[in-house]
């Protein structure tokens, strides 16, 4: 059988400050197939964001391995790493913080196209318009400053930026948590459509199981730096095995009309 697209094994990360050490990742292993969505849930401080950032090479793990498409991802550095980064993109929680305060939307989308040589200079405005259209924004937005548009629109721009390099995997770190509920639903729909059309895999980090339920095929529950439970989303939600899993399921608000 072919190896899954992403295989992470035994990831460890400890953050040390002068007095104390916080274990953020403790022997974390998981795998992800192409076109699959893995939901990563857990309470605050459980290490989900660290795992997402380790996967992006924004945080260097102390130990363990990550293989992407059969290649040693943690062994890459410098130019080779920068070139490969196009395959894995990320959407951040706060769409305002994720853009240079001086950037225009067109400029923010131009950067990945230029860096990865996705299009010639003359062709790029058309590609930027295409990207905006794919995430449901008018192409005229390219001239606007990022800080001028609404939070939901800004997160769409962030998704467009992530799509620019035609990645095989997008890591979404609490990508809809800061959005209001109606906008959240439409962003989730957009993500599902993109997965269907392009076969992009997602790692979807959230503390909210209700959101993960609608988008993730599989769920990994994290607590204190460990993955305490994994399984298909409906199974985990219907019958959580770990204490953390049960607590998260219990925390999802239900409407009791009885």
């Amino acid at each position: 059988m072919r190896e899954p697209f992403v295989v992470a094994e035994g990831l460890r990360k400890t953050f040390r400050s002068r007095e104390r050490a916080v274990i953020a990742l403790d022997d974390v292993s998981f795998s992800l197939a192409r076109g699959e969505t893995l939901g990563l849930v857990g309470p605050s401080g459980s290490g989900k964001s660290t795992l997402a950032r380790a996967l992006m090479r924004l945080v260097e793990p102390d130990g363990g391995s990550i293989r992407i498409d059969g290649e040693d991802w943690l062994g890459l550095s410098g130019k080779a790493l920068r070139r490969r980064r196009g395959a894995i993109q990320m959407v951040f929680q706060d769409p305002l913080a994720a853009f240079n305060p001086r950037a225009t939307i067109g400029g923010a989308l131009d950067d990945p196209l230029r860096i990865h040589g996705m299009a010639d200079r003359g062709e790029r405005p058309r590609r930027i318009a295409e990207l905006l259209e794919r995430v449901g924004l008018p192409s005229g937005f390219a001239q606007r400053a990022v800080h001028e548009v609404s939070g939901g629109q800004r997160q769409r721009v962030a998704i467009a930026r992530a799509l620019a390099t035609r990645p095989a995997l997008i890591v979404l770190d609490e990508a809809v948590s800061a959005l209001d509920v109606s906008v959240r639903g439409r962003i989730l729909e957009l993500l599902a459509d993109l997965q269907k059309s392009d076969g992009i895999a997602f790692v979807f980090v959230s503390h909210d199981l209700a959101v993960v339920r609608v988008i993730a095929h599989r769920v990994a529950v994290m607590d204190a730096g460990r993955i305490v439970e994994t399984g298909n989303t409906p199974d985990v939600i219907a019958n959580p095995q770990s204490a953390t899993g049960r607590a998260l399921v219990a925390a999802v608000p239900t409407l009791n009309l009885g």
Binding site: F92, A97, R102, I115, H116
Partner: protein
């Protein structure tokens, strides 16, 4: 931007500074128009007192040179030196501070020790030593003054960069595979610059004073009139013709005051803008 200008115009310091500086800039720009002759040329009897000759309103010095012409041409030298020295100091400081803060580790340590080394020598002594070794000319003086002034901007830029490099948009730039140098100078530096620019007024003011002091010690460019050299010249006849030192001294005081007030106004305007963000 518009609100920034409004805030600036509403602060009394800013307006006073703007008026003073406008007068000085006007003086500097009009000098070659109103006094097309070399201000070092002899035009009348030596030591003509001010307000006694209509064609020489501020009188003449020991050699019969027009004091008013010297004053206006001197404004050119002072402002040029001040502005260019500040420009060089901010540019060098911002680049060094950004590299140190962004690269971190050994590069940071090395660069900051160089900053320390420059900072422990008083700026004026550094300029004095540099000019007396290389010989006085306007570019050398600008460089000599900048040599002692770039450490402040470097420290401030580094501190800003240290906080900015942890922001998500820097992580986002890494994620799209941007080169670290491009991240440092395109994403980080422009956002670290505003507080550094607040130092401009302090640097310009001290540069004007250092230039005057160098000229006073006969280490200025001998081919141009500066206020410092005029004061030095007048010192020899201080008791019989004190106006020769007082007039350019007044120019100096007003320039430094104007630049300083202007800077205060800028900081005022910027502070309001930051709070709004």
């Amino acid at each position: 931007m518009k609100r920034f200008v409004l805030r600036f115009l509403r602060s009394p310091e800013g307006v006073a500074g703007l008026i003073l500086l406008s007068c000085l800039v006007a003086m500097a720009l009009l000098a070659p128009v109103l006094f097309p002759r070399d201000p070092l040329a002899i035009v009348g009897r030596p030591l003509t007192a001010p307000f006694t000759d209509a064609s020489l309103p501020l009188g003449t010095d020991r050699l019969g040179r027009d004091v008013l012409a010297g004053l206006m041409h001197g404004a050119r030298a002072s402002l040029l030196v001040g502005i260019f020295a500040a420009l060089v100091a901010i540019l060098v400081g911002a680049v060094v501070g950004t590299v140190a803060g962004f690269a971190g580790g050994l590069i940071d340590e090395a660069l900051m020790r160089v900053v320390d080394a420059f900072q422990i020598v008083p700026g004026f002594l550094l300029a004095l030593a540099f000019v007396s070794v290389t010989g006085p000319s306007l570019p050398v003086i600008v460089f000599a003054i900048a040599l002692g002034a770039w450490t402040g901007p470097a420290r401030l830029a580094r501190a800003e960069v240290l906080s900015i490099r942890e922001r998500d948009y820097v992580a986002a730039a890494r994620v799209i595979g941007m080169h670290p140098a491009e991240i440092a100078f395109k994403e980080v530096l422009p956002n670290a610059l505003p507080p550094v620019l607040a130092l401009v007024s302090v640097i310009v003011a001290s540069a004007v004073l250092i230039e005057a002091a160098l000229s006073f010690l006969n280490l200025g460019d001998p081919n141009i009139v500066t206020w410092g050299s005029m004061i030095a010249e007048g010192r020899n006849v201080l008791r019989t013709a004190p106006y020769l030192s007082i007039v350019p001294g007044f120019g100096l005081v007003l320039t430094v005051l104007g630049v300083y007030l202007f800077g205060e106004g800028l900081v005022e305007g910027m502070a309001h803008r930051r709070r709004r963000q």
